[in-house]
């Protein structure tokens, strides 16, 4: 048993070394490091945001006289002012971070799961299976996302998780393509042939050789999938086909637009807009950093 334990410990350390090295490579460039820090902060916001928010996101703030505080400019009490219904914008922003991140991570995870399964099966099995799966991916590419999402939402109702599911079930297409091409490429490497010549079975090769070698790429595309999901969710929110009561950043912009105050109440519209832009930009910069630190090309 002790031998098995030892072997296990070594493998863990192998994995640890690989992961550490991948991260070190990735963080070589300064701009990637900056993006990484921003993402860490945003993730932290999502984790503890609601806890540190000064007010509840839907409490209507009143002045001392009992009047509703509408369109209050930023002040010490309300650092980002209030909106048309007198709600504190900073609190909504912090609550929104969590909702936005949940959307991104769940939809990203769903995209990754479907994309990885389809891509790896197509790439490794090949033949008719591959043709069928990849033509299906082509078909998915043919679907214009926003109109399709509107149709689905009219069917299933505008729920928060409905939106997440729709995002995940449609946007996995680009991941499937990239993963397939990676599998095809790695499958031709001599070390796969070496493993096969030693008698490794197909599941063994998939698990021990192909999966670890596409792991970097998969992690990266997960990050980009999260970015894409956040962006598309903001778009859907803006045209008003998502759950209007969960305060995501997209919903905040929509509310400002509906109130017709996008230009005047800048403290209301800028913060969520900047947050969305920062998140997506950082995720894509991570992709660019990866492209710089490895010979793989990131094509989106």
């Amino acid at each position: 048993m002790s031998i098995a334990d030892k072997v296990h410990a070594y493998r863990n350390s192998d994995l640890a070394i690989i992961a550490r090295r991948a991260l070190e490579n990735l963080l070589e460039e300064r701009i990637t490091r900056v993006a990484f820090v921003i993402l860490a902060i945003i993730l932290l916001m999502g984790l503890i945001g609601p806890a540190i928010a000064p007010y509840s996101y839907n409490t209507q703030q009143t002045t001392d006289d009992g009047d509703l505080m509408r369109y209050a400019e930023p002040s010490l009490e309300h650092p980002l002012g209030t909106n048309d219904r007198g709600e504190d914008v900073l609190s909504r922003l912090l609550y929104g971070a969590r909702a936005t991140l949940i959307t991104g991570l769940l939809a990203g995870g769903l995209m990754m799961t479907i994309g990885l399964t389809v891509g790896m099966t197509a790439g490794y099995v090949g033949g008719r299976t591959e043709s069928f799966l990849m033509r299906f991916v082509d078909f998915m590419y043919g679907i214009p996302f926003i109109p399709f999402a509107i149709v689905l939402i009219t069917f299933f109702g505008a729920g928060f998780y409905t939106t997440v599911a729709i995002l995940g079930l449609v946007l996995w297409r680009f991941i499937a393509r990239v993963i397939r091409s990676q599998v095809l490429q790695i499958n031709q490497r001599p070390y796969i042939m070496a493993a096969r010549a030693t008698g490794a079975s197909t599941p063994w090769i998939m698990r021990k050789h192909i999966l670890p070698n596409i792991a970097n790429m998969a992690a990266l595309f997960f990050a980009m999938g999260v970015g894409l999901a956040i962006l598309e969710q903001a778009g859907l929110s803006f045209i008003g086909v998502t759950d209007p009561f969960t305060p995501t950043w997209g919903i905040m912009i929509r509310n400002a637009n509906q109130a017709g105050r996008i230009a005047e109440a800048w403290w209301w519209t800028f913060p969520p807009g900047i947050m969305i832009a920062l998140t997506v930009l950082s995720l894509y910069l991570l992709g660019r950093g990866y492209e710089g630190s490895s010979d793989d090309e990131v094509v989106v």
Partner: protein
């Protein structure tokens, strides 16, 4: 297995590849009743690998050396002929036989920079064959193996990754991986060609030492006659998928018979700028393996070209001692067959040395 039974026998083994790739071409071929064009990468090849023997295969790029090795390895199915491992034909192998074969026949690839998984540490790379074949091992077994291939101190190398190793060290790891399952046969695909000359010598010495230490037989293929002659007991000269000459190393080098072998030996560089040497007498390039000429495949470049070369030459024994063979019309009497020039020489007629 008796001691004098050959480990590996290839009997008139063929490996042809179809050139047809598109649907349209397939239809065209079916309609016009032509067979698909074939690349005859390995054609009618015989070889016998005795125990503890090192067989060399030498030839130009594209002559089918690597295809030969991969077919023997079972990565390609042979188109024709037979491969026998310890007396049993691989075409009769069941799943368990194949697994056993994969343990007993190991391969060392040409390119050490790509034949190690970058995500595998040295320890895992060497342990992988053992894990696949459910052989018990512990860390000391792997360290011992590393020391045998000259990677000392082993404890330092064991946790390293391929990108931390030099080309020579990588190839040593590949050799250790091949030897760790205690194989009977090693197939070496130009294991030294990607390394610089000083490392080449080390790797060759290592292979030489290890094959005798472990009692392994080896098929060693290369385009470099100097490395082949350094390591091999017997050399097979291959030209466009066929073996044109086969002889014991020293005999082949001192007394080459086939015009192609002669040209090859003349082209070994001699590191002396003032050395006055005979120029190689052949020019041109190896023919197209798709539209192969009838008869001898070397005839288009051969300085000794005769009319009879339009027929496929037989393997004959030029000295009559039964030790070597050469497939060239120069070395046998054609009286018996040239009487009727229209009739092509049968490829498999039993030979009648003069």
């Amino acid at each position: 297995m008796s001691a004098d039974e050959p480990v590996l026998e290839l009997e008139s083994m063929d490996k042809h590849f179809k050139t047809t790739s598109s649907f349209v071409e397939t239809v065209k071929e079916t309609v016009f009743g032509e067979g698909p064009k074939l690349v005859r990468a390995v054609d009618d090849l015989d070889m016998t690998l005795e125990q503890n023997q090192v067989q060399g295969v030498i030839g130009e790029s594209g002559c089918g050396k690597t295809t030969l090795l991969r077919t023997v390895m079972g990565l390609y199915d042979p188109t024709g002929g037979d491969i026998r491992f310890q007396g049993q034909s691989t075409s009769e192998f069941g799943k368990a036989d194949w697994k056993e074969f994969r343990r007993k026949v190991q391969i060392v690839f040409q390119d050490p920079f790509n034949s190690l998984d970058p995500k595998f540490s040295v320890r895992r790379t060497i342990a992988e064959p053992l894990e696949i074949h459910d052989i018990d091992y512990d860390r000391s077994d792997i360290e011992e193996m590393l020391e045998k291939v000259g990677l000392t101190p082993a404890s330092q190398y064991i946790q390293q990754f391929p990108n931390q190793l030099s080309g020579g060290e990588k190839q040593r790891v590949a050799i250790a991986r091949a030897l760790v399952t205690d194989p009977e046969v090693i197939l070496a695909d130009e294991p030294s060609s990607m390394l610089d000359v000083s490392t080449q010598a080390e790797i060759l010495n290592l292979l030489n030492g290890l094959t005798s230490e472990f009692g392994v037989s080896m098929i060693y293929i290369s385009h470099d006659l100097s490395t082949v002659s350094y390591i091999c007991d017997e050399i097979n000269v291959m030209y466009l998928g066929r073996i044109v000459e086969k002889a014991e190393t020293r005999e082949l080098l001192s007394d080459p018979k086939h015009p192609y072998t002669k040209a090859l030996i003349q082209s070994i560089p001699i590191p002396d700028p003032h050395h006055d040497r005979e120029r190689a007498t052949i020019g041109g390039e190896p023919g197209d393996p798709i539209d192969m000429p009838e008869g001898c495949r070397f005839k288009t470049r051969c300085p000794e070209r005769m009319d009879v070369c339009d027929h496929t030459p037989r393997d004959v024994d030029p000295d009559g001692e039964g030790e070597r063979s050469v497939a060239c019309h120069l070395y046998y009497d054609h009286e018996a067959t040239t009487g009727d020039a229209e009739e092509p020489v049968e490829e498999h007629t039993p030979e009648t040395p003069t």
